[in-house]
C-alpha cells in the first residue's frame, strides 16, 4: 500500500528516518537540479543538496503543510545555495578536463552527432555563463527554467517583488545571450 506524502511527513515529524528516505528518494534529483544550476560545481551542488535534506529533516516539525513539501524543500535549497555562493566565491569551472570522459560521451552519441555535441557544448557553456551571474540572478533564472515558477512564487521565495523578479530575469537572460552568442 502506498503511503501518502503527508503520512510520510508525519512519520518524519516523529523522527522516522526511513520515512524521510522515501521523501528524499522522490525529490533529491529536482533539488539537485536547482542547486546545480545555481552552483555549477557538482561537488558543491551535492553538498548543498545534502545539507538541504538534512536541514529539512531537522526542522520538519516546522512544516505545517501550508505549501507543498517540495516547495518548502526548494526554498531551503535556494536559500542555502545563495548563502553558499556568498560565502564561497569560486572561479568558472573548466570545460571537460578529463579526455576519457569526452571519449565515452562521444561513443554514446546518436544519429546526429554534430547537433548532440553542439547541444552538450551549449549546455556546458550555459552553466559556465550562469556561474558568472550574481547569486540573485542565478536564482531567478534557475527557478524559472527548472521549476517553471511564476514571478510571484519566485518573489515569495527570494523575498522580493514581482517587478524585481522580472527585471532580474530580463538582465540575466540578456547577459546569458551575450555570453553564448552564436551557440543560441
Amino acid at each position: 500500500m502506498e503511503i501518502s506524502e503527508w503520512d510520510l511527513i508525519q512519520k518524519c515529524q516523529k523522527g522516522d528516518v526511513t520515512a524521510y528516505e522515501e521523501l528524499a528518494a522522490k525529490y533529491y534529483r529536482r533539488v539537485f537540479m536547482v542547486v546545480l544550476g545555481m552552483l555549477h560545481h557538482q561537488e558543491d551542488a551535492m553538498e548543498v543538496a545534502q545539507e538541504t535534506f538534512y536541514r529539512a529533516f531537522k526542522n520538519i516539525n516546522r512544516f505545517k503543510g501550508g505549501s507543498s513539501f517540495y516547495t518548502w524543500l526548494y526554498r531551503i535549497a535556494v536559500n542555502l545555495a545563495i548563502d553558499f555562493q556568498r560565502r564561497q566565491k569560486r572561479g568558472v569551472m573548466d570545460f571537460k578536463e578529463n579526455m576519457d570522459e569526452v571519449i565515452v560521451e562521444t561513443e554514446r552519441l546518436g544519429s546526429d552527432p554534430y547537433r548532440e555535441v553542439r547541444d552538450r557544448e551549449l549546455g556546458e557553456r550555459l552553466l559556465a555563463a550562469i556561474d558568472q551571474l550574481t547569486p540573485d540572478h542565478k536564482a531567478v533564472i534557475v527557478m524559472r527554467a527548472v521549476e517553471g515558477l511564476s514571478y510571484k512564487e519566485i518573489g515569495r521565495t527570494l523575498g522580493c517583488s514581482e517587478g524585481t523578479v522580472m527585471s532580474r530575469l530580463h538582465y540575466a537572460r540578456k547577459k546569458l545571450q551575450e555570453k553564448l552568442g552564436s551557440y543560441l
Binding site: 529536482r30 539537485f32 551535492m46 553538498e47 545534502q50 547541444d119 549546455g123 527554467a145 514581482e162 537572460r173
Partner: protein
Amino acid sequence: MTRDCEEIKSLLGAWLDGELGASEAAEVRLHLQGCASCLGEKARLEKLQSSLKSVLEAKASQLAFEPFWAGVRQRIAEERPWHARLIDWARAVLSPPRLAWAIPAVIIILLAGLSLEQFFPGWRWALNRSNLAAVESIDGHGFNVALLRESKTKTTVIWLFENHEGEEETSAEPVSGGPAF
C-alpha cells in the same frame, strides 16, 4: 521600428513566461507576426530556457540515490556542536527580511527603555535595590554569620559571632565574647 523592436524584445521574456497583462501580450503577439528579428530573439530565448532545463536534467539523472542518501543520513546521525547550531539559528533569525524589522524594533525598545524615567519616575529605585544595605545571616560551623553589604560604598562587613544560647542555659555568667571581625 527599431525602437519598437527594442521595447518588444524587452517584454519577450515576460511574455514567454506568461507574465504580461492581456493588452501587452496581444501587442507582443501582433508584433511577432510581422517581425523576423523579434521572432529570432524569441527563438533564442526559448532555446536558452530549454537548454538550461535539459542540461540540468541530464546531469541530475546521473546522480544515484544511495551515495546521496548516505551523505544525508550521516549528517542526520552526527550531532552538530552547539556553536554550529547557534550559528545556524542566528543565520535563520537574522535573515535580511527579518533583520529589516528587527533593527527598528530594537531601536524602539531602547528608546522606550531610556524614556521610562519620564513616565514612571523612580522606577530605577526598584532595579537599584543593591544600593541598600542588605543583611543576610547563615548558620555554619558553630558560628552565626551576619553579612552587611553596601554597594554604594562597596563595603562588605562579615560579622561572625558564636552561638551561646546553649551555654546560657548551663552558665549563669554573662557572655563575654564580642563580635569578631
